[in-house]
Structures are given as C-alpha cells and as structure tokens.
Amino acid sequence: MNVLIVEDETGLANEIAAFLKREGFLCEMSFTGSDASEKIAVNLYDFILLDLGLPDYNGLDLIKEARGNGSDAAFIIITARGAVEDKVKGLDLGADDYLAKPFALVELLSRIQAVARRKFNMPNQNLNIGEFTIELQSRKLTCKGKEVIITKKEFDLLHYLVMNRNRVLTRNQLYEHIWGNILDDQYDSNFIDVHIKNVRKKLNEHAPSPWLETVRGIGYRVSM
C-alpha cells in the first residue's frame, strides 16, 4: 500500500517512514504543504498521514484539494497542536482518523490497519493463538468452541497484542491504546500488569497460554 507522509518535521517523518517500510508499506514524504499538494495531484495514494501544523499550508485544505481531485486516499491526521476543534473539523472534512502527537508507531500502524479494513471492506478475520480464537465479529474469545469470559478491556488488550504478534509492546503502548483518553499522571501505574495477570488466569482455566510472554523490563509479547 502507498503511503504519503506529510510532515514538516523531517526527523519524525523519517522515523514513521522507516517503521512503515519495515511493515511493508511504500512510503513517500513531503515536508511542505505545496509539495504534498503536487504529489497528491499526480500520484494515487492509499493513505495520507497529514500533519496539520504545516508552515506553508493549512493542512485541512489538503483534504479538500484531494477530495476535489477525486482522490479516495484515506487521511489520518497527525497533529501536535492539540486544539480540540482540529479533530472535529478534520473528521468533518472527511479525514478517516485522528492521532495526537506523540503517538506510538504501533498505534499508527493499528489505526492504518483499521482504516484499511473499513475502507477496503476487508472482513474481520478471526485470529487464532494456541488453542484460542479471537472472534472479531462477535468480539468473543473462545477456546475449542467454548467461550472464555473476559472483560471488554481484557479483550482489547489481548487483541492488540495478537495483532502485533512477535513484537514487544511496552506497558505505555498498551495503556495508550486501551485507555487512550485517560490522562493518568501516576506514571507507575500497574494497570497493564493487573490486566495481563487477569487475562492469563482466565486463559489458563481453559488451556495453557505460554505464548503470552512477559518481556522483563519492557512489556509483553505474543509469540507465535
């Protein structure tokens, strides 16, 4: 999939591009609004990651232009301005998602995947791990056909880990993904540890879950 990264902060644009390339995306970068405007007019992109704080351009105008050109690229707004109305305006203009800086790269990836599934009508495929199945349509976890009762947050946590299988996710990345809108100033929150503990307990009642690993000092990983 083609991604255009419109971001005047070259350092960040490079990191996003490096990460997405590793994930198999084709990436191009624009560091100015006018450059992005030209690129959008000429090329077809599946995704445009748009920073609203461009020095030469109102980022929101780029969405209008692209829509005017008949581009059906999915826009994900990434902004550090944090203005409340930016989000509303952006989504009103047809942006597909909104991500406030700073964000976790894996979070960006999961947003892109979610938008892609929506946009390209990809069916939610069930995910299998060990003897367990994450049923995305019904949002249920089953083990050999039997439902494992877990809370919504626990489901989200497990789902996120499985989607990013074989990648270590830090507690922060997990926390932000699930409790994104809550500002917890008490940083040493053991939220994730408690939830993982509960998930393990519930899983182990049905079948062993050696694939859910604790990576000491860093976080958690689902290995398959």
Binding site: E9, G11, L12, E15, I16, A18, F19, R22, G53, A80, R81, G82, A83, V84, E85, A100, K101, P102, F103, A104, L105, V106, T151, K153, R167, V168, T170, N172, W179, N181, I182, L183, D184, D185, Q186, Y187, D188, N190, F191, V194, H195, K197, N198, R216, G217, I218, G219
Partner: protein
Amino acid sequence: MVKLKIKLALFSLLTKLGFTVVFLIFMPSLFEWITLMQVDNDLIQKREKVITLISNIGIEPFMTADTANVFGSYNILKEEFISLEKIDLKEDENYIEVTNRLIEGEVIAYRVLNYSFQVDGNTYLLEVGKSLSSINYMSKNIGKVIIVFLFFIILITFIADLQYTRFLLKPLDMITNKLKGISDPSIFDKKPVRTTTSDFQYLDSALRELMEHIDQLFQKEKEITVNISHELMTPISVLRGKLENLLMQEDINDVISNKIEESLKTLHRLQTLVNSLLMIARIESRQYLREESFQVNEVLREIIGELNPIAEDAGILLSGEFERDLQLERANRSLIFSMFYNVVNNAVKNTSSGGEVHVKSSVLNGRFMVIISDSGRGMTDSQVSTLFSRFSTRLETSGNNTGIGLAISKSIADFHNIEISVRSVIEKGTTFLFRFPENS
C-alpha cells in the same frame, strides 16, 4: 430573589399606602378644623352684617317690649340662628364655642359666636349659631368619597407603575437574559440592546467590551496553548519515534533494550506532564465543548468498572452506592469522566490492602452530590489545603505521581460549576464531596 421591577412597584405601592394611612388618620381632625374655620368665618361675616344693620337702623326694631329684651331668629330647619339679648355685663365678650342648644324640644350642637357690644349705654350679647350636624354629615360623605377615590388612585397608579417600570427596565431584562447561560464569552450576543436610558446603554456597552476583551484573552490563550503544544509535542514525538524504532531492532541486547524502555518511560512522563498542563490551560480558557447530556451514575459505574481490577488486585473493596441520579446537561462527558476518575484512582492508590473506597451519589438540600471516600492514610489540614494546586499533592508519598491529577479535577469542576470539598483525617481516610449546581 425578587425582580427589580417588582421591588420598585412594591416600594411605590407601600409608600402610597403609607401616605394614605397617615392621611386617613389625620383626615377627620383636618376636616373638622377646616370646616370650623369656614363656619367661623361665616359666623363673623354674619355678625358684621348684624352689627351694620344695628348701626343703620338702631337696636329698637329688635328689642320690643313683648320680646322682653330678647330677639331670636332661626330658620325652619334650625340650621342657623341669631339671638340678641340685653345683659348686665361689664366685660367684653367675643369668642366662638360649640354648645348644645335646646330649640323646640330638640338638642342640637351649634357653633356659636358670642359677641357683646354696647348701644345707648346698654350691653347686648349677640349670638350667631350654625348647626354642626349637617356639616358633620357632609364631611363624613366627603370622607367616604375620598377613601374610594384614593383606593382607585392607588390601584391605578400601582398598575401604571408596574407597567412603566416593566417598560423602563426591559433593556435591563434583555441584558440579564444575554448573560444567562453564558458559558463562553464568544457566544455572548454582541448586538447592542436598544434603549434610550443612558445607564443601560453604558451597562450594555461595558459588558460587551468586557466580553470581547475576555474573548480576546481566551483566543490568545488558545493560540498560546496550540503553539506550546506544537513546540513541545513535536520534539517529544520525534524522540519517541526514534526510541520506538530502536527498540524494534532485532540486533540489540537486553541491557540496551531496557535502557531504551526506561528512556521511553521518562519521555512518557514528560508527555503526560505537558499534556496535563495543556489540558488545564485549555479547560481554563474554555476550549472544551460543553454540549453533551448524560447520566452521572453511568459515568461513575464506568469508572468503578475500570478501576475494579486494580482495586481487587490491591485487596481494596471498591464499591458504588447510587441513591439518586442526575441527567447532566451541557457538559463534557470525557472531562467529567476524568474529574471523577482522577479522584477515585487517587483514592485507590492511597488506600492499603484491606481498605475500602466508596463512591456514592445522592441528593442533599436539593443538590445532587457525589461522595468519594476512602479508608486510606488521610492527610493533614495543610496537605488538604494545597491538594488542588499543581505539583503540590502527596508527592513525597506517591513516588512518581506528578501530582497534577487533582488539579485537573478541580479545573474541570470549576468549568462545570461543581464545588469540591475535602475532609480528611490522618489514618482514617479522605472524603471528596462534589456538589453539583442547584439548577442542574
């Protein structure tokens, strides 16, 4: 609370009634005094006429032998009489009095003028009298008419006053209406109120200027927060991207990856701190929308649900008791969520195993309130007094706590006109009380 126009009308009514009562109390004696003055004048005029008559034609026509030196005359209805009598009196008499006279078997109160004069060496006493009964009767009637008249005058002027003050104060009503329900200076109606009263014009224009000024300040603050946010968050996000990419490299060892994760944690702390400060600034400059309507208990249940796993893990009983509910209008749900969440989260973190955190909603004195109490270690009075200031909370006791969560809760509460009060007893626990505005 009474409206100004009602107060003004009531005041004018009361003063009128007061004057009327005073008037009614003094009216009878005033009336009497005036009528007596008139009667007396009348009597004196009559006396002068009689004296002139006597000096013209002499006393003889009145004093005939068969009248035995007494002359008397009264009209048919006995309203007036005149009498002349020869008397032996050396002193001059000239006075007016009220006396009862028996005339043809009837006792009648008269105002009588007594006047002595001398003609041909003889002293005569002239009496001119006028009956008071007819006068009293008339004054009573006039009194009744006056009372009825006054009553109507008061009624009519009261209604007129009410209407006029209503008309007069209409611009003031419009100004107060403009102020009602203003949560943000930018939605203040900038159209000037039409009035010919200079005071209202001044009030209205002063208010508009003030609102515009506040609005500009808010706009400026908004710009500042947007800029600060951009300036601080951009480098943080660059750093974060670099560190996260580093952590995903496969050829690094555990020591390095632990160091990277520690750096990410520190960076996250910085990010949370900046976000918290920006959040407070945004709340204080009213950048958040307040246009949601929701049940408060539903928010509390959600928070308890979120924090229950943590509480359970720590051996704390987190419970809810929902006596009453409130449909909160024109509020921001995620802010209200954060406000309660920070306090409940704080309570759970400051309570040790075996303790309790209790969330309760109820109504007291007609006001909805939420009470969050814990059986934690409690705080001293000086700790309580600085609880809501930024960075001043129980820093020493809670490790990495940046101490800004409660400051956020406080600014959210202020934004929604919710009062927070705290009671705390060392080793017993702390209670947070959220009092919602009366009209919500």
